[in-house]
Amino acid sequence: MIAISANGLTKRYGRAAAVSDLSFEVTQGEIVGFLGPNGAGKTTTLRMLAGLVKPSAGTCTVLGAAVPGPTLRRVGTMIEEPSFYPYLTGRDNLTHAALLHGDVPRSRVDEVLEFVQLQDAARKRVRAYSQGMRQRLALARALLWRPQVLLLDEPTNGLDPTGIAEFRESLRAVATEGATVLVSSHILAEVQKLVDRVLAIDKGVLRFDGTLTQLLNRMDGQRVRYSVRATDQAALAAALTALGYDFEPRGSDGAEAQVPRDRADDLVSDLAAHGVKVVAAAVHGDDLEAAYLRLVDPAGRPA
C-alpha cells in the first residue's frame, strides 16, 4: 500500500520555485530519508504533505486520501524546531494535543512520556526544558495517536551525539511497529543508520530516489568500506578472509572491510553463510557522504 505519494508537487513563492515537479511514492512501513542541503525544499515538501502549505501545482496523498484530508489525523509530525506552549508543563502540552486530536486515551500520555524518558520532567513547564528534552517531547507528541505515518523534519537538530543516538533508537522502535517514516535531514550520516531508502532533493528538484547501495553505486570507486560488528571477532575475520575481502580489526568485536561494490548488498548474508552472527553493519559514513555530495553538487565539494 502506498502511504505517501507526491505527483508533480510544485510550490512557488512569487517567481521563485521552492519545489519543482516533485514526484515520489513511499510504501507502508518504509523508512525513507529525505535529504538535501539547507534551502533545498525539504521543509516545504513536508509542509505540503502535512496540509500546512497549498501546492502551486500537483497533488499529494497520505494513506490514500488527498491532502488536506481526514487521513492527516493518522499522521504524526515534527516540522522544524519543536514548538510548545511554554507556560504549560510537558504533560499538559501532550494532554492539550490529545484533547485536540480527540482519539487519544489519557493513559497514552504517560505511555509516550515514558517512551521518550521524560516522565520525571513531565511536571516541569516546557520553558525550562533543554533543546534535547523539547525534541523528545515533540517526538512524544507526534506518537500520541499511534500515527501510521511520521513526517519528521530535521528531528535531531540541536541534539548532542548521545541525544542523536537515543533519538535514532526511539525512532527505530517506532518503525518496528509498522509506521511509515519520512525523515528529512541535510546530514546523510544522521539518517544512514536508520533509513532503507533515500530521496535526495536539491533546489526543489528530486536528484535521487533509491537505496543507500544504489547511492553508493554512483561513486567512482570500485570498493565500499563497511564497518561490521559480530558476536565473534575471530569468526568474522575468518569469514572475511574466506570471502577474499581486505579488512582491519576494529575494537574487540568489529572490523572495517573493503567490499567490492557489486557485493555490498550481500555482505551480511555472505557473512551469515559463513556462520558469523552480525550485530551491526553499516557503510562507512565518508563514502556515503561523498556520493551524496556528488549528487547535490556535481562540481564536487570536498567529502
Binding site: 496540509g51 500546512l52 502549505v53 497549498k54 492527516l72 499538559d92 507528541r141
Partner: protein
C-alpha cells in the same frame, strides 16, 4: 461536530491554565464591588442626616449603586466606561491567548496537523473566547450580588429590584462581544503578530471614529466648506451625519451602558424623561435593537474576512 468539541475541550484546557485571566477576574470580581461598598459606606457614615440628605437622597443613591441589584448593574456598566474598556481588555487578552500565542509560539503548524479541520479549529477558538468572556461577566454578576448581600448588613440597602431585564442586558452584552472577538482574531491573523494585533484592536475603532470627528469638524469650517458642497452634491450628507449611529464602539457597549440612563432617570426622580445631550455623553443614545443589528453586521463582516483568510493561507 466531534472535531469542534475536541477543539473546545483542548482550548478550554489551555485557557484555565493561564494565570493572567485569573488576575483580570480578581480585578473584575473583587476590586470593583469592594471599592463600591467602601465608597457607599463612606457616603452613608458622612452624609446620612446631613443637609445633603434631603428627602433621604443618600439612601436612594446607596440603593442604586450598592444594593445587590445596584452592584450587579455596576458590574455590567462599570467596565464599559473605563478607558480602554475592561471588556476590550478582556477580549484582547483572550484573543492573544487563543490566536496570538499560536503565532508567537509557532504553534499553528502543530495545531493544524493535530486537528486539520481549519473551520473546526477557528470556530472552537471563537466559541471558547466567547465562553471565557461570558464566564467573566457571569462571575462579576454573581460576585456583585454576593457583595451586595454583604452590604445589606451594614448599609440601608435592600434585596429588591427588576432582575430579568438586567440579566437580559448581560446576555446581550456578552453576545455583542462576538464582533470584537472576531475583529481581534482577524487583526492578529492578518498582521501575523499577537502584540500588533492587540494594539490595533485597542486603538483602531477609536482611531477611525476620531478621524470621523476631525473630518466632521473641518468640513464645518467656513473656508473649507467645499467638503459640505461635495457631500451635498453626491447626496451623502445624511449618511455622513448618521454614521456615528453605526460606530463600532458606540454600538458595542450599548447594553452595558444602558443602566447608566436608568441611574440618571432614577436620580432625577423621573423628571428627565429624555436625557438630551447627556445621552450622547453617556453613550446611551442608541436603542438596544439597533445596536444588536449593527454588531451582528460587524460580526458577519469580520467573520467572513477571518474565515476567508484563515482557510486559504499557508502556515509558515
Amino acid at each position: 461536530m466531534n472535531q469542534f468539541s475536541n477543539v473546545v475541550r483542548a482550548e478550554a484546557f489551555k485557557v484555565v491554565r493561564k494565570r493572567r485571566l485569573y488576575v483580570l477576574a480578581a480585578l473584575y470580581w473583587v476590586l470593583l464591588p469592594a471599592l463600591a461598598l467602601v465608597v457607599a459606606r463612606v457616603l452613608h457614615t458622612t452624609l446620612t442626616g446631613s443637609f445633603a440628605d434631603d428627602g433621604r437622597v443618600v439612601d436612594q443613591t446607596l440603593q442604586l449603586f450598592a444594593s445587590p441589584l445596584g452592584l450587579v448593574r455596576l458590574a455590567l456598566a462599570g467596565p464599559a466606561y473605563t478607558s480602554p474598556t475592561l471588556y476590550i481588555v478582556a477580549v484582547t487578552l483572550v484573543a492573544a491567548l487563543l490566536i496570538g500565542e499560536e503565532r508567537s509560539q509557532n504553534m499553528w503548524k502543530t495545531v493544524l496537523v493535530v486537528q486539520p479541520s481549519r473551520v473546526a479549529v477557528m470556530t472552537g477558538k471563537v466559541f471558547v473566547a466567547l465562553a471565557a468572556l461570558a464566564t467573566l461577566m457571569a462571575g462579576a454578576a454573581v460576585s456583585g450580588f454576593l457583595f451586595g448581600l454583604v452590604g445589606t448588613t451594614f448599609l440601608p440597602t435592600r434585596l429588591e429590584g427588576d432582575w430579568l431585564p438586567l440579566l437580559g442586558l448581560y446576555g446581550l452584552q456578552a453576545a455583542q462581544l462576538l464582533a470584537p472577538v472576531l475583529l481581534a482574531f482577524l487583526l492578529i491573523t492578518l498582521v501575523r503578530s499577537g502584540v500588533l494585533g492587540v494594539v490595533m484592536v485597542l486603538f483602531l475603532p477609536g482611531l477611525l471614529e476620531t478621524l470621523y470627528a476631525v473630518i466632521n469638524t473641518i468640513s464645518q469650517v467656513q473656508p473649507l466648506n467645499r467638503f459640505n458642497a461635495v457631500f451635498q452634491a453626491i447626496r451623502l450628507q445624511a449618511a455622513w451625519k448618521a454614521l456615528p449611529e453605526y460606530f463600532f464602539t458606540a454600538n458595542l457597549y450599548a447594553p452595558g451602558r444602558a443602566p447608566a440612563a436608568a441611574w440618571f432617570k432614577e436620580l432625577s426622580a423621573g423628571e428627565a424623561g429624555d436625557l438630551g445631550p447627556l445621552a450622547g455623553l453617556l453613550g446611551t443614545g442608541l436603542t438596544l435593537g439597533h445596536s444588536a443589528l449593527v454588531m451582528a453586521g460587524y460580526a458577519l463582516l469580520f467573520g467572513v474576512l477571518l474565515y476567508w483568510w484563515f482557510l486559504r493561507r499557508d502556515v509558515d
